[in-house]
């Protein structure tokens, strides 16, 4: 899954720790989501979208496998 979370976070000048605190997870989890090493739960994805006032699809997209 591809993520635009870093762009949204940096646009607001937030650190990973501050964003994690805002949505109730650790800094490490925000870092893992941004690096594509962890797919967030639906609940976390919705919280992140609500925090940035955008749609979940704006933050996360399925990776294009090149066959579509």
């Amino acid at each position: 899954m591809e993520s635009n979370l870093r762009e949204y976070r940096e646009r607001e000048g937030l650190s990973q720790g501050a964003l994690g605190e805002a949505v109730g997870v650790t800094r490490q989890t925000i870092n893992a989501v941004e690096r594509g090493r962890y797919d967030p739960s639906l609940e976390l994805a919705l919280k992140l979208a609500a925090h940035f006032d955008c749609a979940v699809e704006d933050l996360f997209q399925l990776e294009d496998d090149g066959e579509g």
């Binding site: 720790g17 994690g20 967030p40």
Partner: protein, 134 residues
């Protein structure tokens, strides 16, 4: 450049939480070996109390959904490894014993009971989890 590499308070809490369990457990083992089992138990309990208190008092989550996902994956692999090993070892030993090739050491009975108990507990939790998701 952002400050994303800076440690947050959660890192300290997580580290202290793990360190409390580790120190308590190490003292527990060391004091038992040294001949002070009750003091060892006290050290273990103290470490556990400190760890739980740290997690409880922290403003930020000590562990979150990613940690739970990691623990779930580790648990799945543990149960699979124990299950596959047991499915080979115990029937093989039963057959070998029935054929008179081996004599079971006493610890092997306890190992068998432990594995059976482990999977019984696992089965109970599977049923509980299913009932909660209906």
């Amino acid at each position: 450049m952002t400050d994303t590499a800076l440690p947050s308070p959660t890192v300290s809490t997580r580290s202290l939480y793990a360190a409390s369990w580790a120190v308590g457990s190490a003292l527990y083992a060391a004091l038992i070996v040294a001949g002070y089992p009750l003091v060892g138990v006290g050290a273990f309990v103290a470490g556990a109390v400190v760890a739980v208190a740290l997690g409880h008092e922290s403003d930020q989550p000590t562990f979150d959904e990613r940690d739970r996902a990691v623990f779930d994956e580790a648990g799945r692999h543990t149960m699979a490894a124990v299950g596959m090993a047991s499915a080979v070892v115990f029937p093989t030993m039963v057959a070998a014993r029935a054929l008179g090739y081996v004599t079971w050491p006493e610890w092997f009975y306890y190992a068998g009971y432990f594995v059976a108990g482990l999977f019984a507990v696992w089965g109970v939790f599977v049923l509980l989890a299913r009932s909660h998701r209906r």
